[in-house]
């Protein structure tokens, strides 16, 4: 899975419980059918519906998991990241409506050098941290060195590993003047800007960094974000208060209060009882049932529920088999039955949020007869028994979708069994790449940056260097993906990736399943929730109707 713009970790709570995702109802249906039409407005996102914003009030929320006291940008616990995203900001953030793309936050503008290796950012002026330290290039550089420079006396060793996913290719940060910084890359990385949305790229106050030891600094969360973390009662309650000096205007809400550790069922009960004002996620059935009293809202980018096929396994090595498996899936039934209409059938690896989305690309329709024919051609006429791996917890709807896949494959003569592993054990294994035991593994990824296809399906990204865990390789596709990386013209880049995608869809290295977004439920009085990132919505413009 890839919550690409925020938080790369699902631990603890997600590891403890499955979370059901929710579907959104009629409110979001227009958004779905309109694809990436940016003019479609998500109900409640901009401040206009509902009236004039009212200042004041407390928003009561549920936190998945229990955070520790260390809330810094390079932390990696889910709960810590949620809190941190209200406190810290980075140079850029996703679009507040679609949860995808890039918009300026602490950077006003940026340019990329022709060779793609130097990113120059002009920083926003007049921004201060919660402790009144001004935000300048020094803050940017110090935060970078804290995570990436082993020689710095502020070096946070653990942060280095945690921030690898963002700064793997970044060599150094240069301060040109007080409000200009340059990131120098070791290699060309045209999508680096997307990485800067992640939690590891957010900024702590340089005063805090200088004042405390690396481990202690996280206990004093001071950022430039709309809320300040003012109270942490471990395991009981976490309070964030409005930062009146916020550069984008002080939030309407006076405070956010989080209750940690509630499991999904209890959260819904709490919402019903009025103890919580919103849930950032709930099961689709719950949303379907409660959408009268409460308002569904979607947030975050679109994800693909990814089933990575093992191209080294004797069964799925054969492209005909992989295509057959794709024909065997009754995606529409899943969308209606499991997601209650709140998802779209997938046709290729990239979701509708993909910048090079190709409306004309056709995927695999539901055609069990064709599947059987292909399987027979590949020599599996009389059926076959295979195994796949699946996590018991942590991946949304793993059980439902996993067993639906089983049922669909059974109809074409495939007896599929699962090795079900607990979340942590599962990903420890899956990370290394699929072995000859399993025909697939599952995860979920967002794809709102062009190099997504390369990240997932290039041979250069085989484990241990990447996430191409099914060992897929296609020489022609690889050639295109590399060319896409090298191309500086955006339109040409998109065309290249579209060609690559066609090859990939034909090769079917994945089971293409569904696209879905995170869906929450809010009480009627909550207005204007923005899509900030994939771990938490953005409440900086949220207000409560009286």
């Amino acid at each position: 899975m890839d919550f690409y713009d925020c938080g790369d970790v699902l631990t603890r709570r997600q590891a403890l419980h499955r979370f059901g995702l929710a579907a959104f109802g009629t409110l979001a249906a227009p958004l779905l059918t309109a694809g990436r039409d940016a003019s479609v407005v998500l109900a409640g996102a901009p401040p206009t519906p509902g009236g004039t914003p009212v200042r004041g009030g407390t928003l009561a929320l549920s936190l998945d998991g229990i955070p520790g006291a260390n809330i810094s940008p390079a932390t990696s616990g889910v709960a810590e990241i949620v809190l941190g995203m209200h406190v810290y900001e980075g140079l850029v953030a996703p679009d507040p409506v679609t949860g995808a793309g890039v918009r300026p936050v602490l950077a006003e503008s940026w340019q990329v050098s022709p060779d793609g290796r130097v990113y120059t950012f002009r920083l926003r002026r007049g921004v201060t941290f919660h402790d009144s330290t001004p935000f300048t290039a020094e803050a940017v550089e110090l935060n970078f060195r804290r995570l990436r420079d082993p020689n710095s006396r502020f070096f946070f060793k653990i942060g280095e590993a945690v921030s690898n996913i963002v700064f793997r290719l970044t060599d150094r940060v240069e301060v040109a003047d007080d409000y200009t910084v340059r990131y120098h890359m070791r290699e060309r990385d045209p999508d680096f800007i997307y990485l800067l949305r992640r939690p590891q790229a957010l900024f702590m106050s340089p005063t805090v960094i200088k004042q405390f030891t690396p481990d202690e600094a996280g206990k004093h969360p001071v950022g430039t974000g709309p809320f300040r973390l003012t109270e942490q009662q471990e395991g009981t309650r976490y309070t964030l208060e409005r930062f009146s000096g916020y550069w984008d205007g002080a939030p309407y809400l006076e405070r956010l209060v989080y209750r940690p550790g509630l499991d999904p069922t209890a959260s819904v009960a709490a919402l019903l009882a009025g103890e919580l004002d919103l849930l950032t996620e709930a099961s689709y059935d719950t949303i379907d049932r409660l959408k009268g009293r409460f308002v569904p809202f979607e947030w975050g980018p679109e994800f693909h529920w990814t089933v990575t096929l093992n191209t080294r396994h004797p069964f799925t090595r054969d492209v005909r088999v992989r295509q057959a498996l794709n024909y065997a899936l009754n995606r529409e039934a899943w969308v209606q039955g499991i997601f209650k209409g709140f998802a779209k059938p997938a046709r290729g690896p990239a979701t509708t949020g993909y910048p090079a989305w190709n409306p004309g690309l056709r995927g695999y329709p539901y055609d069990p007869d064709r599947a059987k024919a292909l399987l027979a051609a590949a020599g599996y006429e009389s059926g076959v028994r295979v195994k796949a791996m699946i996590p018991t917890t942590g991946v949304p709807l793993a059980q439902e979708i996993g067993q639906s896949i089983q049922a669909d494959l059974r109809k074409v003569g495939i007896d599929l069994r699962y090795d079900a592993l607990e979340f942590n054990a599962y990903f420890s294994r899956f990370r290394q790449g699929l072995t000859e035991e399993h025909i697939f593994g599952v995860s979920w990824w967002a794809s709102d940056f062009l190099a997504f296809l390369e990240q997932q399906l290039s041979q250069s990204r085989w484990p241990p260097n990447g996430v191409n865990r099914g060992w897929y390789h296609n020489a022609e596709a690889d050639r295109l993906l590399t060319a896409g990386r090298e191309e500086s013209n955006d339109e040409k880049r998109k065309a290249i990736y579209q060609r690559a995608e066609r090859i990939i869809v034909n090769d079917a290295p994945w089971l293409f399943t569904v696209y879905f977004r995170r869906i929450g439920l809010k009480s009627q009085k909550v207005q204007s929730i923005r899509s900030y990132a994939s771990q938490t919505p953005d409440y900086s413009k949220t207000w409560l109707k009286r």
Partner: protein, 316 residues
Amino acid sequence: MRRYVAVRILSTLPVLVGISVLVFALVKAVPGDPASALLGPEATPQDVAMLRDALGLEKPLPMQYALWLKKALAADLGRSIQKRVPVTDLLFSRLRNTVMLTVTAMAFALALGLPAGVLAARRAGSALDRATMVVALFGNSMPVFWLGILLILVFSVHLGWFPTGGTASLREGPSFGNTLRHLILPSLALGLVTVGGLARLTRSAMLEIVGQDYIRTARAKGLSQYRTIWYHALKNAAVPIVTIVGAQFGFLLGGAVLTETVFGWTGIGLLIYEGIATRDLPVVLGGVLFVALAFVIVNLVTDLMYGYLDPRIRYG
């Protein structure tokens, strides 16, 4: 006897060490590691290796254990890998919640179980006796998490009498009344699954005592039934009851994990459970040792009481 006590107290230490080795081995044996848990599904094996190194997980296992043991003996239980805070801090902040839950649950169990047991003993063999025992058994037959869910459904969602979970209200400030309201349902759930055992024990202890000679003597001397039962018998039944209550405490401390999960009651049980999920070894070690220490002490007291109660049981 005194020698026995001394030996038992001294032998507590190897028990604790044994427990720590068992926990260490168990957590290390579970597939998956804390670095993997920290970085999440997206990270590559390379990233995980780098973090393992930064966390000191690359050292050989016996060495990791020895390092931990050395610090533990100096009362330093290390730092949580996941949360980067000292384990002792975490334990203490959760201790209050766990103690509150355990004590209140036991109070419920006693308040319901003792009278039930006495009642059943008084009417031994009757339909009332049978019925009381069956009802007492109800609680023992329910998974506590299921009972918890039902209680939430009825008393929180439908009736709205109690909050649905957590240890404190989000909107109000902390107060005694606030905490009490959050405490009632989880301790009721935990208490109800314990009450059956207490009721049965009380009943049989009472029956045994009532048959004893000295009770018959008291009745022969003319003491009323009420005084006989309540005064003499219950006093003497208190001893085995206390023994079992003590044992149940130890059980409750560690076994409250499921209750804490369902109600979001952040106590030590939940801490250990989270620790296992994230392979946060220092946390699991610290938490389990704490619970184990309590349990071992209770066991020691129990065994000593056996010796006190029945001189026929000799140790040596």
